[in-house]
């Protein structure tokens, strides 16, 4: 018995292995694994063609395009502003910096429905920001632009928070060397600092993208939810559920779950890459 056990685990002097791992696996299975399996096997009752029929619908395709496209644009915006904010918070000092730093986590902490109605009110045509923007001819609310805005809001902390620790630990010696060798500050920043931030930047942007693809609460209020125009994929799942179209809802759900798995895999590859660089 002991020999068989030690093949997959090393002996330990501490008690509680069976209890803690047993409970962990039980709880993980009941809450996460079995329900996910229930989703994965659901949409195939009409075979692959039934699955494909749901996804190739015009309205579904438009929603998927908006969720994935909007998330990509939002991640790109955050990949530009995120490093700037991280740089300012790590390298500069000014009054109120700590408060700004704490505020970065607001999209994590603020319930998405609250963010949703706040953004919607702020950017509606009589809102604080929506009114001046509408004079410029820019309509944010009830538009795909509003979707991108909400997804950018929700993704910002991911990029800033992944870059910040890397920047804090970054040695300044390469920068000094570059400067000594005659590089301008701009060259140093783009050719020395930025490349060393790249893995963290990619990780952060991927995390932001992953979060934005499935985001629901902060989006639906500002989106206006016009079919095939500003309707996101998660909302379509809810609409199909309300029509008792379980097969349709789970087909979209399985696709989104597949996207989550691909993104987890990509993040693991990124982590290994970062590990190898060290």
């Amino acid at each position: 018995m002991n020999v068989a056990v030690s093949r997959w685990r090393n002996p330990s002097a501490l008690p509680g292995f069976g209890l803690s791992l047993g409970f962990t696996l039980f709880y993980l299975s009941v809450i996460v694994l079995i329900p996910i399996a229930a989703l994965i096997i659901r949409p195939w009752s009409a075979g692959f063609s039934g699955f494909w029929h749901v996804l190739s619908d015009h309205r579904v395709l438009a929603a998927l395009r908006l969720s994935f496209g909007g998330a990509a644009i939002a991640a790109l915006i955050n990949a530009i502003t995120g490093p700037i904010i991280a740089w300012v918070l790590v390298r500069y000092s000014f009054p109120g910096k700590r408060i700004l730093d704490a505020l970065i986590d607001l999209p994590f902490a603020l319930p998405t429905a609250v963010a949703g109605i706040a953004l919607s009110t702020l950017y509606s045509t009589n809102g604080w920001l929506g009114e001046p923007l509408s004079h410029l001819g820019i309509r944010v609310a009830y538009n795909p632009l509003g979707v991108v805005l909400a997804l950018t809001f929700i993704g910002l902390p991911f990029v800033v928070r992944t870059i910040q620790p890397v920047l804090t630990d970054l040695s300044r010696e390469p920068e000094e060397a570059a400067a000594t060798l005659g590089a301008s500050r701009f060259q140093t920043l783009t050719r020395v600092v930025l490349p060393s931030l790249m893995p963290a930047l990619l990780t952060g942007a991927t995390l932001a993208f992953a979060r934005a693809v499935g985001e629901y609460g902060s989006v639906i209020f500002i989106a206006g939810n016009i079919p095939a125009v500003s309707e996101i994929a998660p909302l379509l799942i809810i609409i199909k559920l309300e029509q008792y179209d379980y097969a349709g809802a789970s087909a979209i759900g399985v696709l989104m779950l597949g996207a989550s798995f691909v993104l987890i895999f990509a993040l693991n590859l990124l982590q290994n890459w970062i590990g190898e660089r060290r």
Binding site: N10, A13, R42, I117, E176, P234
Partner: protein, 281 residues
């Protein structure tokens, strides 16, 4: 003119980047927060407070507290058990187990609700037998609790696993070799070492549990005064054009978020080494 140190940015660049950062944070993060409070108070403090006293609002607040009171302790116990197994023992598949624990973070909230509808909903696996037995899970408290447990599943575990791996096993091994029982070792040696990390995880777990919207929205059925949590009640009121009421409840949730951020920052400033996961989310 004083010469700049070579790794310092030009003052103009410095100013430009600072202005960009401050305006993004101000316009993008602070302004929405200010909107919540200003809308809630647009008809005065009394109107906002009255809105919170509505029976439906009170039942939503009560339900939110109840759901968090069940979901957070469950995930805290799970987090401690999982990190004990992963940090204190060597076994195969550990990395994979850690990835599985993080899984709910990568899944859309709506999908997180959907999976339980597929099991317990009327057309789900157990739908008919549950109906015959007169047990309601979907559109009732158990479904809301399950969906909340799912979306907050990794919070405590992912704070504790790296922390406990970092702390190693020496102290626990010393305690057991001196004759302490497993529980004594855990309560007197491990728990004091991880208490701030545990609190940090519980704090984040609680914030998400009370604020969850998408997953709960799928399983709740939006029954006023019965299965509406605070975020769902915000949606109902907002769609009813009852803006003062919607933003009054939203303000309570926003206050919760602010308190969470303040406590989180305090924990990070004072116990950085004992949390060890300050930059993870």
């Amino acid at each position: 003119m004083k010469r700049r140190y070579p790794t310092q940015d030009h003052p103009l660049l410095r100013l430009l980047l600072t202005v960009i950062a401050v305006s993004v944070i101000g316009l993008f993060l602070l302004l929405p927060l200010a909107t919540v409070f200003s809308q809630a108070l647009s008809k005065g403090v009394v109107a906002a407070l009255e809105a919170l006293k509505e029976p439906d609002a009170r039942s939503a607040i009560w339900l939110t507290l109840l759901v968090a009171a069940i979901a957070v302790p469950l995930n805290a116990v799970f987090g401690v058990a999982a990190s004990w197994a992963i940090a204190k023992f060597d076994f195969r598949g550990k990395q994979f187990l850690t990835t599985l624990i993080d899984l709910p973070f990568s899944i859309s909230p709506v999908v997180s609700g959907l999976i339980y509808v597929l099991i317990f909903g009327l057309q789900g696996w157990f739908g008919e037998s549950l109906r015959d037995a007169n047990i309601k899970i979907i559109f009732a408290l158990p479904g809301i609790v399950l969906a909340t447990v799912f979306v907050t599943f990794p919070f405590v575990a992912r704070e504790l696993i790296p922390l406990m791996v970092d702390q190693g096993r020496d102290e626990e091994e010393a305690a057991t070799s001196l004759g302490a029982s497993g529980w004594q070792t855990f309560l007197r040696v491990t728990l004091p070492n991880i208490k701030w990390g545990l609190l940090y995880g519980v704090l984040l777990c609680n914030a998400r549990a009370m604020g969850e919207f998408g997953a709960v929205s799928v399983v709740s059925g939006h029954i006023r005064g019965l299965t509406n949590t605070m975020p769902l009640h915000v949606e109902v009121l907002y769609n009813d054009y009852q803006y003062v009421g919607a933003f009054a409840i939203a303000s309570v949730l926003a206050l919760l978020a602010i308190v969470t951020l303040v406590l989180k920052s305090l924990l990070e400033w004072h116990f950085a080494d004992e949390i060890a996961a300050t930059h993870r989310h």
